[in-house]
């Protein structure tokens, strides 16, 4: 067993992923307090509040962060918030534009009036600091080239200080941490985060200390958010597969450990 061809393990994992996607079971999804934190805050915002979202990821993290972005935007548009979006990742610009446009169209929202996608600006963390000083200097025009000054969606918004709630969906640096360090900590707005599964353990200290008020972690977090807004999508569909692969991995780990310890005992008995 310890010398098993690794391709057999790939096949087992592949089947455990594929079969639940083809034949879903619909396992229950328990909502965690960290995901509920983001949901509850958005739910508590009055209409036309300014909701700022930064899509700090690229297509490599699409499977985890794309469903999170879709669910958050649907929730924000349903609450009639003014949605201001941007990205700190140049390779994520096209994907972010596609997500915002797709959800806005689905929810019947108007570009410039209900939402705006500012695009990408160079400078990583310096962009956050600039946004805290003057949004119009950082983004003189939106992604489509329209001047940002005078857009109804930005009415009364001069800088990050005028943002009611901000969520960064981050797949690395710059991401949630950068937005906290150079944004929230300096300009004092309420903030939540969304991230890939790999990053989630590193962001829990920020959550516990109240530096961010909620955290959507990985595909699991996206599935919880989809359940909360009652619009089940790709994340919920993937949860059966996620559970099946986890069970398969746990079984493989147990089997390999049993074989390892039994072989070690046999070797000791032989030498003794």
């Amino acid at each position: 067993m310890l010398k098993i061809d690794r391709r057999i393990i790939f096949l087992v994992i592949g089947l455990c992923t594929l079969l639940p996607l083809l034949y879903p079971v619909g396992l229950p999804i328990k909502i965690s307090s960290e995901v509920r934190g983001v949901y509850n805050h958005i739910e508590s915002l009055p209409e036309r509040s300014v909701f700022f979202m930064s899509f700090d990821f690229d297509p490599a993290s699409k499977p985890e962060l794309h469903p999170q972005a879709i669910a958050l935007l649907r929730h924000a548009f349903r609450k009639n918030l003014r949605v201001v979006t941007m990205t700190l990742w140049v390779t994520g610009t096209g994907l972010a534009d596609q997500i915002v446009t797709q959800v806005a169209k689905e929810m019947g929202k108007e570009n410039g009036k209900d939402y705006v996608f500012l695009g990408w600006s160079p400078g990583n963390t310096a962009v956050i600091i600039n946004l805290g000083q003057n949004l119009y200097n950082t983004f003189p025009s939106d992604y489509g080239g329209k001047p940002t000054k005078g857009l109804p969606v930005l009415d009364g918004v001069q800088s990050l200080k005028d943002v009611t709630y901000m969520v960064s969906l981050g797949a690395g640096n710059p991401g949630v941490e950068a937005w906290y360090v150079f944004g929230k900590d300096k300009y004092k707005f309420e903030m939540g985060g969304g991230c890939t599964g790999v990053m989630a353990p590193g962001l829990y200290p920020l959550l516990r200390s109240g530096q961010i008020n909620g955290l959507i972690g990985g595909l699991r977090g996206a599935a919880e958010y989809e359940s909360l807004i009652d619009q089940k999508g790709k994340a919920v569909a993937g949860m059966d597969a996620q559970s099946a692969t986890h069970v398969a991995i746990i079984i493989l780990v147990i089997i390999c450990n049993l074989f390892y310890f039994s072989m070690r005992r046999a070797a000791r008995q032989q030498s003794g």
Partner: protein
């Protein structure tokens, strides 16, 4: 061909090419890998040129007369002197500017956000005054701010810090504290690894979801056709490599 359908064929083909690595390293995987790198770099260059050069430099200077922008442009141009050995020393001014500004911005904010706020959170009061109940000690492990969790975090932080304190030998009571630190570290690594496995599985689920979607007739069933082509190519490549005589070392 519709752009969406064409995109589905390209995405399916490249996904399958990358998946062939699970069988073994092969030219199909290399093709997809190099395409990914090339497209990423090309996209970044085009976006950076359009956003930075055109929209943030050329247009404001020539259309709006913002001459002050020439100062950051000049500092940026100094970076390029790295390619001229005799003038390379000029680039140090640009680097000095970037390091100075970057450090000045990052150090106070990082100390405030991570060190001070996290220390504040680590040394929370062990007992709390809740309403008219007087001093209380909560034992709820599920509540992150309960008294028992505050104690666990305090023990964890101190024992891990002690484990990385190498000036005294870890023996006697010190050994127990260091071992406790190792246990906390192992739990943290386990949690991080668990999340990493979950993330990687999510990526696989994402690709398989797309492959299932693209097996639909509305896309022309690229998943099925390209899967057959990929398997065919792998068989041909495998046979060709078997026919090759072993190379002499």
């Amino acid at each position: 061909m519709d752009a969406t359908v064409f995109g589905a064929w390209v995405a399916t083909g490249l996904t399958l090419c990358i998946f062939t690595f699970l069988y073994k390293d092969n030219p199909l995987f290399k093709l997809a890998e190099h395409l990914y790198v090339g497209v990423s770099v090309g996209y970044t260059i085009v976006k950076a040129y359009d956003t930075v050069i055109v929209h943030l430099i050329v247009k404001p200077i020539f259309e709006q007369g913002e001459i002050a922008l020439l100062i950051p442009v000049a500092i940026g141009m100094l970076m390029l002197t790295r390619y001229v050995p005799k003038a390379a020393w000029l680039s140090r001014y640009a680097f000095a500017f970037i390091v100075g500004v970057g450090s000045g911005l990052a150090i106070p904010r990082t100390i405030s956000s991570f060190i001070l706020r996290q220390i504040e959170d680590t040394v929370r009061p062990l007992l709390s005054m809740a309403g008219g109940d007087g001093v209380t000690f909560s034992m709820n492990l599920l509540n992150p701010s309960s008294s028992i969790n505050v104690i666990i975090i305090l023990i964890g932080v101190i024992s891990v810090l002690f484990y990385f304190f190498f000036s005294i030998e870890h023996s006697g009571p010190g050994k127990i504290v260091a071992r406790t630190g190792v246990i906390f570290l192992m739990i943290a690594f386990g949690a991080a690894f668990g999340y990493t496995v979950m993330a990687r599985m999510s990526l696989l689920i994402g690709r398989l979801t797309d492959l299932i979607e693209f097996s639909d007739a509305s896309y022309g069933r690229p998943t099925l056709w390209l899967l057959m082509v990929t398997i065919g190519v792998l068989i041909v490549l495998s046979r060709r490599s078997q026919r090759k005589p072993p190379q002499e070392s």
